[in-house]
């Protein structure tokens, strides 16, 4: 079914500003027409199926800037087929695959393997991220040019901050000639070592080693100074602190090539949750306190932060069901991303739907330079259908992901992904409520 008419949905296309009830015609896998209600549209070929989208939002397919697919090397956590199926269930039609495989994606063949596995899985589109440094050791640059030839759209050492400023400087200089960003987790390792949560009154109460906000603020400041020095493109992943947001805001005003993202869980959960000592809440950077969250929301509202990433980090249950010190960081985030954002941002009135969807579509597309994230006539039909009025209870046993490490299990959340369409093909439908179709 590569030709069909999606009827009567609320089309929200943040890139073009379109925000109206309309029919969307898909012909041969591409978007052929978007016709507002009451306007005479182009003639629809006979026998074209139709999908009833009344009450649903028709959005460009979501784009995630950094997703760990864990294959090869960590298949106990995830593989490309399960990770990309989870992406579709979360409404993501394009994801950038993190380089934290084993071996890491620091060679052209490793990047090409990611694409090969994604083609085999045939779920969502996958673009690889290459490593900044060989084996993520932070010492020598990876073969960045070769990685570009292998399809890398950006560079990241995933959970390993590039601690050496000289190495980061050269990386920012070197990537300039390819016009690809470096996606960096800006954390000073020495200040974070051994930490399991945000440093503050809660960590003091619980006797848990804290990671101060300054661990991120300092590295963010360094990265911004290096971006200014080199003219390179830096993208700061998982911004979680007030001062980081303030520094990034200032740098963008000064015209630096700096962008940033935030995760859904850092917007919804505070460090209070650590009272349960549950390793499901352990992530990097740690969940912060309310004042930091308010600053993140401010950064989303004024355009300082232009993307939301699930920072999907699947971890096998046996790794997470251990003592807090021993448990790895990471949250399995793809399948709950939209709903958590709606609960954190739309329900309290911080953002409108078009603002939120911008952060999941056009925002990340621009950061990675992808020709995607908008509903453009003639372009492949990558579309996500959302039921904004639905509520559902998260059941991690039903995840498409191979992993279950979510802090949202059993939580009731608003809004649900109803379908994900890639290349005009409906590749995901919500099992609890199938779309009604006809001809």
């Amino acid at each position: 079914m590569n030709s069909f008419l999606i009827k009567g949905g609320h089309v929200i296309d943040p890139a073009s500003g379109r925000n109206e009830i309309a029919d969307l015609l898909v012909l041969n896998g591409c978007i052929a027409a978007i016709t507002p209600v009451g306007v005479q549209g182009p003639s629809v070929p006979p026998q074209t199926a139709s999908v009833d989208a009344s009450g649903l939002i028709i959005s460009p397919g979501f784009i995630d800037l950094h997703v760990s697919l864990r294959e090869p090397g960590h298949e106990e956590d995830e593989c490309t087929a399960t990770g990309t199926a989870a992406a579709l269930a979360g409404g993501f039609t394009t994801i950038a695959a993190q380089s934290d495989t084993l071996p890491v994606v620091d060679s052209r063949s490793a990047a090409e393997f990611i694409r090969l596995q994604a083609d085999r899985a045939r779920h969502c589109r996958v673009v690889p991220l290459g490593a900044v440094t060989k084996a993520h050791r932070g010492e020598e640059l990876a073969e960045i040019g070769q990685l570009v030839l292998g399809g890398a759209v950006g560079f990241s050492d995933a959970g390993h901050p590039v601690a050496n400023a000289e190495v980061m400087r050269r990386a920012l200089e070197y990537t300039r000639m390819f016009n690809r960003p470096i996606l960096h987790l800006a954390i000073v390792p020495e200040l974070a070592e051994g930490g399991v949560m945000h440093e503050g009154i809660q960590s003091t109460r619980l006797g848990l080693r804290g990671i101060p906000a300054a661990a991120q603020d300092i590295m963010t400041g360094r990265d911004l100074a290096l971006a200014e020095l080199t003219g390179g493109r830096i993208h700061l992943m998982c911004v979680s602190t007030r001062d980081s947001v303030n520094r990034i805001r200032l740098a963008r005003l000064q015209g630096l090539q700096v962008t940033a993202d935030v995760t859904p869980h850092h917007l919804l959960l505070t460090d209070d949750v650590m009272q349960s000592f549950d390793p499901m809440f352990k992530c990097t950077p740690p969940l912060r306190s309310r004042d930091h969250i308010d600053s993140l929301i401010g950064g989303l509202r004024d355009g300082t932060i232009t993307a939301i990433s699930s920072d999907h980090q699947p971890r096998a249950l046996e790794k997470k069901q251990v003592e807090l010190d021993a448990a790895p960081c990471g949250i399995c985030g793809l399948e709950t991303a939209l709903s958590v954002c709606v609960k954190a941002l739309i329900v309290p009135g911080h953002l409108s739907w078009i603002q939120l969807l911008h952060l999941l579509t056009a925002g990340p597309a621009e950061i990675l330079g992808l020709d995607a994230g908008t509903l453009q006539i003639g372009r492949p039909a990558d579309i996500t259908l959302i039921d904004p009025a639905a509520t559902w209870t998260v059941d991690s046993t039903q995840f498409r992901s191979r992993s279950r490490n979510t802090p949202f299990h059993n939580m009731q959340l608003p809004a649900r992904i109803r379908a994900a369409i890639v290349d005009g093909e409906i590749r995901y439908q919500c099992p609890q409520s199938q779309l009604s179709t006809g001809t």
């Binding site: 070592e193 003091t204 619980l206 006797g207 000592f277 003592e323």
Partner: protein
Amino acid sequence: MELADLAAAGPWGHQHLLELEKLTAAQLNTVLDLADRLNDATSGGRERLNLLKGIVVANLFFENSTRTRTSFSLAARRLGADTVDFSPSSSSLSKGETFIDTAMTIEAMGIDLVVCRHRTPGAPHLLSRHLRAGVLNAGDGTHEHPTQGLLDIYTIRRHRGRIAGLTVALVGDIRHSRVARSNIHGLVKLGARVIVCGPSTLVPQEIRQLGVEVAWNLDEILPEVDCVNLLRVQFERQRGAFFPSIAEYATLFGMNAERIRRARPELLVLAPGPINRGVELTPDVADGPHSVILDQVSNGLLIRMACLALLVRERQLQGATR
């Protein structure tokens, strides 16, 4: 004394004892009062009762401890319970079994209570979510050590007859001390004024939000203090150097004869032990008239008997005992 007599012991209602932060003043007093009664009933812990006959208590010590484990074992046996000791060196932990699997295996052998010590904060909480047995926290990393907090408070109460209105200084490594946290929660709830004192690297400022005062100069607060609790310098829990040298620590925060002279004459000196002689306190202070360090040890037995009895009683009320 019968287990049913404990119905009159006072408010309790906990299936596990994980932290003093979650206990009310009335529940704290229930433990302290029961310790008094057990003291009378056992002639100071020397005679055996049959209160917990048929009950099996497992000591799961994932971190080395001689004193606390011995105290718990003795307390359980004094009440007629059977005990099994489990230490990770003789376990399958080294074979890759998870901590929870280990505990569940032990439980499957028919255990009523698990006494758990672990280097990770929250480890007993994790166990309590996976086990049907009652879990008693015998120290979880740098979080809490509820029975130590209770026995410190009980020792003060026995010597002073009350807690409310007293000024208690906790001196030393507050940041890494589970004993400090349990003492703070218990003492504050029972109406004491609590001052935490130590090197500024080891006394986090935000701890004021727990209802305590922060001091960095021991000599300034000493004249106001009724009791000092000298916490062990936790060399093994510190990451990196928090103060320049042990000699400097002893100079600034060690309790010595000179400081005793400037303190109130009725000052009580407590130390949870094991003590570092010459660091937190000099030998003449440790063995001197102000010291109640050995009383703490014998009171610990009574407090642990009381806690075990209350948890077993609670299980019977909830019909959970097999």
